[in-house]
């Protein structure tokens, strides 16, 4: 297993989606697509076709086997709205076919660049992708547009194309749903504005306890109230089994337990094992924040480069003492 600097979540939690994309019917109030074009000049566009989380939308759902078609749309959108901005497309290093398509297409077009990387979490986080692709330093929490960088979701490009150029009503968004709380993993066409319960109704397992999360399990948010609606910024929905009872012989069931919300161990004090700083993608030492926090000196945590943290959550994920490091970091950042 690779612990060093980032973590291969896709390998650790393999998630397959069935190929068929299904529409979710909903007749209540929905929101239409809209894109707020930046007022600042866009100097770089980055499009990520290499998600590093297994529960993220796989790119084949957008490309639909026709990369050229997607690139045509991109070219039109670019020449209409961002005529001077070069585009960088980030792809998985192992997908030769896709890379070949991109290189062939980009041969005569100097605005299109292909950048390949390993799909290791969290290398597609804004701060890291900007650093790797452009070599520019940004801080977590800043809007990249302040630096003239526009990060575009592939889905947004087709959205802009259809809504603003073809003037078609665009009201659906592709959202992948996955996790052990579902019968099957699916990619759904959802009209934003649909409540979460309606979305999940057909797929959710009723025989177990479950919890629902938006935008991934590592630094996403929990959906406590299932009547909450899915909006345009939701990227994915994960439903995980909740095991709030004891399971006998956990050592023989690590896989099964690992795909639940179980803590997988008891809360202890920090044992100085160095797992957290080995895995931290930006070379911080998260245990220091915990030490400050546990001594009640939240302010002091700032001395240790706290603002560099991109809140990826890997340190809490790996900590064998099960310390809530991400929570501690967020509290230290807010400073109260």
């Amino acid at each position: 297993m690779v612990y060093k600097k980032g973590f291969d979540l896709i390998k650790a939690y393999p998630t397959e989606f069935s190929e068929e994309v299904v529409s979710v019917r909903y007749s209540g109030q929905t929101e239409n697509f809209s894109f707020s074009f930046p007022e600042k000049k866009v100097e770089h566009i980055i499009i990520n076709l290499c998600p590093t989380e297994p529960w993220a939308l796989p790119h084949w759902a957008i490309l639909k086997g026709n990369t050229i078609n997607f690139l045509h749309k991109l070219e039109k959108v670019r020449s209409e709205y961002f005529p001077d901005s070069p585009c960088r497309i980030v792809v998985d290093r192992c997908e030769d076919e896709l890379i070949n398509d991109l290189i062939r297409y980009g041969k005569k077009k100097e605005w299109l660049h292909t950048f390949s990387m390993k799909p290791v979490y969290p290398y597609d986080a804004p701060v890291l992708i900007i650093k790797n692709v452009l070599g520019l330093e940004t801080t977590f929490g800043e809007n990249p547009i302040d630096h003239g960088i526009l990060l575009l979701e592939p889905q947004t490009i087709t959205g802009i194309y259809e809504h603003y150029m073809l003037k078609r009503e665009t009201g659906v968004r592709l959202i992948p749903i996955s996790g052990t709380g579902l019968h099957e993993n699916r990619i759904l066409k959802i009209k934003p504005g649909t409540p979460v319960e309606t979305v999940l109704k057909k797929y959710i397992r009723t025989d177990i306890k479950y919890r629902v999360f938006f935008d991934g399990l590592l630094n996403g948010t929990e959906v406590e109230d299932l009547s909450q609606t899915v909006n345009w910024s939701v990227k994915n929905i994960v439903v995980m089994e909740e095991r709030d009872y004891k399971t006998p012989f956990p050592y023989m069931k690590t896989k099964e337990l690992g795909s639940t919300t179980s803590l997988m161990g008891e809360l202890r004090r920090c044992v100085y094992c160095n797992y957290c700083d080995d895995i931290c993608p930006v070379n911080l030492e998260p245990a220091l924040y915990w030490h400050c926090y546990s001594r009640g000196e939240k302010q002091k945590a700032r001395h240790y480069a706290l603002d560099k943290c991109i809140e990826c959550g890997l340190c809490s994920y790996i900590c064998p003492s099960k310390l809530e490091l991400l929570q501690v970091i967020r509290e230290c950042k807010s400073g109260s």
């Binding site: 995980m240 803590l263 008891e266 160095n274 994920y317």
Partner: protein, 365 residues
């Protein structure tokens, strides 16, 4: 498979009942709650779930971490020691150490101090105690050592708050209280094809000084082969160095021990002794002999790497290892004490704290 499943369900139900019984009666809970939790924790997972993001967690926990150390110690010294000194020499010591350390002192402490639970670190400490003493050490000495170590370990704060390595501290106190007993009884190990007789009883107890003492007295080095494979005298746990090295490397590979410490420790012992023996001549033992004698390899892989007692920062770990190496060589060469690892590690454990804060000051100016 089916039988297993039904056993599992019965077990689960009964443990649930027992848990309810314990928790619903305050007095029972006061006395046996922690003990029950500890036993239950070995059989079943916790019921805690992640309340804050990330909502999934890796399966590595402190139990597995300590379990790894226990496995490494078992194959690293218990198994070879049984071969060299016989079953009856090793196993009673372990039983006494565990019984007194974990089941008496730890349990009493948990009940008195109202700690939430007994933790597995006590087993590691108790598995160290017999290894650090000569093969002929009396059982009561082991018991006293285990009791002192666990007591100090708990006073200083348990897992996550140890100031110094508790097993070494126990050994130090034994050295102070019973100076004569801890340095005698270095039994000659058994080295032939094992028979049932030898497996159970070991061989006749012929004692001989350890290679380091011999070197101090007459300046003779033992054969490297005998040192490596354990057919020479020494403390119970430190002689079969090849097994220790294999298990130590495994620990580093599993990332339970930090590889920087053994590398820094062994490397610096080698370099310092090479340089010093060139400068001062024969008072300093030759480097390879230094590496292979005494408890150095055992200590470098298993004791110095005890994570809580070193520094958190990685650079600090290098400094820690090198410091241990320097002190070890100096004590072995220039003092009347033949073996210096115990003092070296304890001293560096203490120095580790200022080193850590100094490194932080420099790194995050």
């Amino acid at each position: 498979m089916k039988i297993f499943k039904s056993i599992e369900i019965i077990l689960d139900n009964n443990l649930n009942k027992a848990e309810q019984f314990v928790q619903s009666r305050p007095k029972v809970n006061f006395l046996f709650g922690a003990l029950f939790e500890a036993c239950d924790g070995l059989i079943r997972s916790t019921k805690d779930t992640a309340k804050t993001p990330p909502y999934i967690r890796s399966n590595m926990d402190v139990k597995q971490y300590m379990g790894g150390v226990l496995v490494a110690l078992f194959f690293g010294w218990v198994v070879p020691a049984i071969y060299f000194y016989g079953f009856l020499c090793v196993v009673p010591k372990l039983i006494v150490s565990f019984a007194i350390g974990v089941f008496v002192v730890d349990v009493i402490w948990v009940v008195l101090a109202r700690e939430e639970r007994i933790n597995e670190g006590g087993f590691v400490t108790c598995l160290f105690i017999p290894a650090l003493l000569p093969p002929q050490a009396p059982l009561w000495l082991i018991g006293v050592g285990a009791a002192i170590s666990i007591l100090f370990r708990n006073i200083l704060g348990g897992v996550g708050h140890n100031l110094v390595n508790p097993a070494l501290l126990g050994r130090l106190l034994l050295t102070i209280c019973f100076p004569a007993i801890v340095v005698t009884g270095w039994q000659e190990p058994f080295t032939e094809i094992p028979t049932v007789q030898s497996f159970i009883h070991g061989v006749d107890a012929v004692t001989r000084a350890t290679p380091l003492i011999v070197y101090k007295e007459i300046g003779e080095t033992a054969s490297y082969f005998s040192l490596l494979f354990g057919s020479n005298t020494g403390s119970l746990g430190e002689t079969c160095r090849i097994a220790i090295i294999i298990m130590g490397v495994w620990l580093c590979f599993k990332r339970i021990a930090n590889w920087r410490i053994p590398v820094a420790y062994l490397g610096s012992v080698f370099i310092f002794s090479a340089v010093l023996s060139l400068l001062v001549g024969n008072t300093v033992a030759p480097p390879i002999f230094q590496l292979l004698s005494g408890g150095l390899i055992f200590a470098a892989f298993f004791m110095a790497t005890d994570p809580v007692t070193t520094t958190y920062s990685q650079i600090g770990k290098w400094i820690f290892g090198i410091g241990c190496g320097l002190i070890t060589v100096v004590i072995r060469s220039f003092t009347p004490i033949p073996e210096g690892i115990m003092y070296a590690i304890l001293l560096m454990n203490l120095i580790g704290i200022p080193i850590q804060s100094l490194i932080l000051k420099i790194k995050y100016r």
